[in-house]
């Protein structure tokens, strides 16, 4: 019988054991499947498990490795993919009832990349319906029901990559793939006490992924550590002619090895003073302690303020109008009324009415903002603050009123396509995790990875995990 610790080993450690044949990918997959069957439903973490695919992929990996064909750090490693990524022949529900029986006949590009790396698909992770594209008021806005936080099942995981957060935090898979248009990787990573990377816009192909706001949608890894995220990101990243939003070959690709960190620059960190208007007292206490840790860990840490402007408003206009366009058929046909959430059923009608002139105004503001942020990053390598100003919210919390506070860093980061990383930085007295967020210049994904690696080499918050009954 394996110890609980096996389920929480980072990919780096699992890969070492698999490469040296101390750990069988088939056995590891069977163990994760068993655990996922046991806890997955309790947490509403999966849209579906895929045991046939998982065991076939694990057996293929084992055979390859025995023959000496080891493909790299994801070979034989079980993972879950958010249920907005197409997997050939499987239902891809986008978390929403109107798409409950939707099946594609091709794989998303990220699934192809993971297949080539030899990773093992355990299942499709549950998610907020349409990734929150029609907005939502309650955590139950999902075809699979509300995702429960493994640290406290009376609390939510945050969304929209809610199942991905629960799966990694509960040790049901070694990693998961999430997506973010605005907050959907960073927030669940913070609420669930895991590490999550939102890559620079355009580094990871979205071909075969549900479109919400095409000028803002991104795909990224959620895992146990920054190093794990870096290794997964190296597999996911790359130009794809099938996604016009991807960057050129030389700008999209990402390579990673820990030795790269030894010869890199020391980082200048900007600790943000105006990222949040108010903060939960428990989070504020952890934020203070985290700032002190950063000052001990990094050679230069200065206070810095984000530029002021209508960034949240521009982000909401762009996301609202692009989302309404992406789901125009759903709104027009009235099928939007089949969504689970009362706000999701009607908000698309309002977003559909935003004018083209307002969209263009937001796009102009977006370009001005890009320049302001590029100027700011002339003085700082990374900006840092807590990922969310409050810990995981109770399940019946009204998110429309309770989570609608201004989020200028989220707006800026997603409008400008900046890379961000959330890593755990402490726990409240109620044992709920709190995340620390690093944001860097567009294209400097290595900057946030280096910052996260440095922070995690001085702390052990990322090694803690919940005890599941």
């Amino acid at each position: 019988m394996p110890t609980e610790e096996l389920f929480y080993l980072p990919i780096t450690e699992l890969a070492k054991r698999i490469e040296t044949k101390q750990l069988s990918p088939v056995e590891l997959t069977q163990l994760y499947l068993k655990r996922s069957e046991k806890f997955g439903q309790r947490l509403n973490a999966y849209a579906r498990l895929t045991p046939e695919i998982a065991l076939a992929q694990a057996q293929a990996a084992e055979k390859d490795i025995r023959r000496g064909h080891y493909r790299g750090p994801l070979h034989g490693i079980p993972y879950a993919a958010k249920d907005l990524l197409a997997v050939k022949g499987l239902p891809t529900t986008w978390g929403a009832k109107p798409y409950a029986n939707q099946v594609f006949d091709n794989d998303a590009t990220v699934i192809e990349h993971l297949n080539r790396a030899g990773a093992v698909l355990l299942g499709k992770a549950s998610m907020i319906e349409l990734a929150g594209g029609m907005n939502y008021r309650f955590a139950s806005a999902s075809l699979q029901g509300e995702a429960k936080n493994p640290w406290d099942t009376s609390c939510w995981t945050c969304g929209s990559s809610s199942g991905s957060g629960a799966i990694v935090a509960a040790g049901l898979a070694a990693f998961a793939i999430g997506t973010e248009t605005w907050g959907s990787i960073i927030c669940p990573s913070a609420f669930c006490g895991i590490s999550g990377l939102r890559p620079t816009y355009g580094r990871v192909s979205r071909y075969g992924a549900m479109a919400l706001a095409p000028s803002m949608d991104k795909i990224g890894p959620m895992a146990r550590s920054t190093e794990d995220c870096a290794r997964i990101f190296a597999v996911l990243a790359g130009h794809d002619p099938k996604d016009h939003g991807t960057l050129a070959v030389d700008k999209a690709a990402f390579t990673y090895s820990p030795s790269m960190e030894l010869k890199t620059r020391s980082l200048t960190v900007g600790w943000l003073t105006n990222a949040w208007k108010t903060m939960d007292p428990a989070v504020a206490k952890i934020a203070d302690a985290t700032e002190k840790t950063l000052r001990k860990t990094f050679p230069v840490v200065h206070h810095v303020a984000l530029p002021q402007g209508p960034w949240d408003d521009a982000g909401n206009v762009i996301m609202g109008i692009e989302g309404a366009a992406s789901f125009r058929g759903l709104i027009g046909s009235g099928q939007v009324s089949e969504l689970a959430d009362p706000l999701g059923q009607i908000n698309g009608y309002v977003n559909e009415r935003i004018s083209g002139a307002d969209y263009m105004q937001a796009s102009r503001v977006r370009e001005i903002l890009q320049k302001k942020m590029a100027d700011l990053f002339d003085s700082f390598d990374v900006l840092a603050t807590v990922s969310q100003p409050l810990p995981a919210t109770p399940m019946d919390f009204n998110l429309e009123t309770g989570l609608s506070f201004p989020d200028p860093l989220g707006a800026i980061g997603n409008l400008c396509g900046l890379p961000a990383l959330s890593v755990p930085c402490g726990f409240t007295e109620k044992h709920l995790p709190v995340g620390l967020q690093f944001v860097a210049r567009a294209g400097d994904d290595f900057g946030v990875i280096l910052a996260g690696r440095t922070f995690q080499s001085h702390t052990d918050w990322h090694r803690r995990h919940p005890r599941l009954a």
Binding site: A86, T92, Y99, Q102, V103, F104, D105, N106, A108, R206, Y207, G208, A209, M210, A211, L212, P214, S215, D217, P241, K242, D243, H244, G245, G309, P310, D312, D313, A314, N316, V317, S326, G329, G334, S337, P342, L343, Q345, I346, N347, Y349, V350, N351, R353, I354, D358, M360, Q361, A362, S363, R364, V365, R366, E367, I368, Q370, L415
Partner: protein, 173 residues
């Protein structure tokens, strides 16, 4: 400036109602009423005003307005008119789909959508400022092989495209 006491209607209210009536009229003309609510709006818009300074206000707006929570943002008359017109346009096109509760909620959302738009519009931009919208010409696409000639009489037509959302190929976002 303070309003004159004894006026039948305030200047602010007059401006709001006039803008709303104009917006309703144009929405009805351009979109066309659909369903019972839309028809009711069209009828209201066609009714002559009772007096020169009392523009008609759609009953559905008035009814939904009465249900709104007290802590709604205070909008300028123009912004209020725009928010109400947005609500009316939704009702004109889709009104039959909504319950009374949903209509009230929609009206609330239309009003809440207004302050962000007002703030965004107030941000100074110049005519020459760029937009973060770029067309990336399709250089990388390879030529598709030419399909075999289908000019023979009686050649079968291609089958109808299946919507991607139902089945088939997952589209690029």
């Amino acid at each position: 400036m303070a309003e004159k006491p004894g006026s039948a209607i305030s200047r602010r209210e007059f401006a709001r109602r006039a803008a709303l009536a104009s917006a309703i009229g144009s929405a009805v003309v351009s979109i066309g009423p659909t369903g019972a609510v839309g028809a009711a709006i069209a009828a209201t818009a066609r009714q002559p005003s009772e007096s020169a300074n009392q523009a008609p206000i759609a009953p559905s707006v008035a009814a939904a307005q009465a249900q709104l929570p007290a802590n709604m943002p205070r909008l300028s008359p123009e912004s209020q008119a725009e928010a109400d017109a947005r609500f009316q346009a939704i009702l004109a096109q889709y009104g039959a789909r909504f319950s009374e509760e949903q209509k009230t909620d929609l009206h609330r959302l239309c009003i809440l959508a207004q302050p962000p738009l007002d703030r965004l519009r107030a941000y100074p931009v110049q005519n020459g400022d760029g937009t973060a919208l770029y067309l990336k010409p399709l250089f990388e696409r390879e030529k598709k092989p030419k399909p075999p000639s289908t000019s023979q009489p009686g050649a079968a037509k291609p089958s109808a495209a299946v919507p991607a959302a139902a089945s088939g190929t997952a589209k690029k976002p």
